[in-house]
Point group: C2
Chain length 193, copies 2
Amino acid sequence: MNEMTPDASCEALAELKTALRKNRRDAHHRYFQMATVTAEGHPRNRTVVFRGFGADDASLLVITDCRSEKIVELRQNAATEVAWYFTRTREQFRISAVTTCVDYRCQSEEGSALREQVWQQLSEAARAQFFWPGPGLPLDTGTTAAVTDEAPDTFALLKLSPVAIDHLVLSKVQTRRRSQLTDGRWHEHWINP
Amino acid sequence: MNEMTPDASCEALAELKTALRKNRRDAHHRYFQMATVTAEGHPRNRTVVFRGFGADDASLLVITDCRSEKIVELRQNAATEVAWYFTRTREQFRISAVTTCVDYRCQSEEGSALREQVWQQLSEAARAQFFWPGPGLPLDTGTTAAVTDEAPDTFALLKLSPVAIDHLVLSKVQTRRRSQLTDGRWHEHWINP
């Protein structure tokens, strides 16, 4: 059972997609927690909404406000770890990833197109927040701008590219598998829960 | 509305207790995500189970295996941030805390008694894990020991003492309040969501 899969494919990512399908009746199944590190070396953690996979079918897409603290944190340390717990199937994916920020200054055509595409899929309520006063500022400071149809400069797309995945299943017999991306290939093996 | 509450009491902690009550029908309402930082400065994140409040009625209790990676991480950096999202009431508490580890070497009578008390409240299934082979090791390495009635040396209690709380409520009108412990007093003010 101590299998090694030195292959470009990743079993854990396939299982993540299965979990997304099996848990889709829960409104919160697309929420996960994303940890970052501040310049002072302190951990930060918050709940974000999963916005789909990137063109590579592996990276996780998240949106954020360019004025948020996580942008400052990720600029100096792009490492993140996602903790994604699915309540219905009782399984957890811990995903270590490297984050790329795609904002209005993005030079890549592919990145800009993806950012615009995700923006177009947002609800009116989700869009409105990017026109609010800066998050984290004292209440009622800053101004609310008029909502526009095109993505505002405050809107950024984060691409989280997985480098390691720890998949824990809390069924009657617990299982845990560790997947690691090394030299472009995924190596997977079972570990003690 | 830009209130300051330079008082020993903390509104956010009272609201956390209300949230625990209002969400108690969800089996997962006592699960939260706990972020730490490795010696190399990488973020780590995992789901843990809330085991109640400490004697101060403010610190969060969590149990862990002394052989787990988070013990190594917390030994060199005791800072943690909890992300606790309540799915029923749609609110999030981000709790920055300092962690104290209470293990079998604990010299304090109060700490030892609390560790033993939490152990006694655990289910058989929860206890059994502390007698399994070391978590994270390749599967089937290590040995399984016989379950004992008293807490084994692998069992540790973590006390997370909050120093800052960010409470976000995703109701129709979003609200967000920041609470900070300074010189033993909580200062709270509303901020932009």
